[in-house]
């Protein structure tokens, strides 16, 4: 299956892109997607401890199952205002 990945702020800069399509085996969890992303973009790995992950706009934990066509967003610490 494929999902869409959105990279924001530092994650966007480290990955060198703001979005990408990611191919994943079925079933996959959020942690599997992160492992694949870290493999493709090793510079992202130092962000892992600080990132929140959203799946279709909702914060999720690493063991959440991903469905085909999902939108996965990498969200560094926020600083609005």
């Amino acid at each position: 299956m494929t999902i869409i990945v959105l990279f924001f702020a530092q994650a966007r800069e480290y990955a060198g892109m703001s979005s990408a399509v990611l191919e994943l085996p079925e079933p996959s969890r959020v942690s599997d997607a992160l492992a694949a992303l870290g493999h493709a973009h090793p510079s992202l790995e130092r962000l892992w401890p600080h990132l929140a992950i959203a799946l279709d706009g909702q914060l999720v934990s690493p063991d959440t199952l991903i469905h085909a066509g999902a939108e996965l967003a990498l969200l560094p610490p926020v600083s609005g205002g």
């Binding site: 959105l6 924001f8 914060l59 967003a73 926020v78 600083s79 609005g80 205002g81």
Partner: protein, 143 residues
Amino acid sequence: MLLVAELVHATIDSKRLTAEAARPDCGAIVLFLGTTRDHHDGRRVTRLSYEAYEPMALAALEKIEHAAVERFEVTSCRIVHRLGEVPLAEASVAVVVVATHRGPAFDACRFAMDELKRAVPIWKKEHFAEGGEGWVEGTKLGS
């Protein structure tokens, strides 16, 4: 139409916000404007820019607006955040609260700003006079 979060890419029109907020049955309007600063941790800042995960940020802003109205005796709470480059001393965010009395209006406005800093996927980048740039150290979402 009392709760309308907005993300904008131009000047925040605070006059429109307070004019739209005014109601004949309410006596208090509190407007907070967060304005961009020319220094941070001792470094001179020349430019600031903001980015957001827009759909999720809008949902988070609306959630804050509703929470403000539920927790405090206020009639409405409306939040507008600017994205992209924001010139120094211009507003990056506006929160407008309307209430019958001023005490809850101040409380709700402060609550909304505290929540906004904590729970909305928006990021601020500073560009420094000495060269270089950096994302402002923030708060992990969901923490």
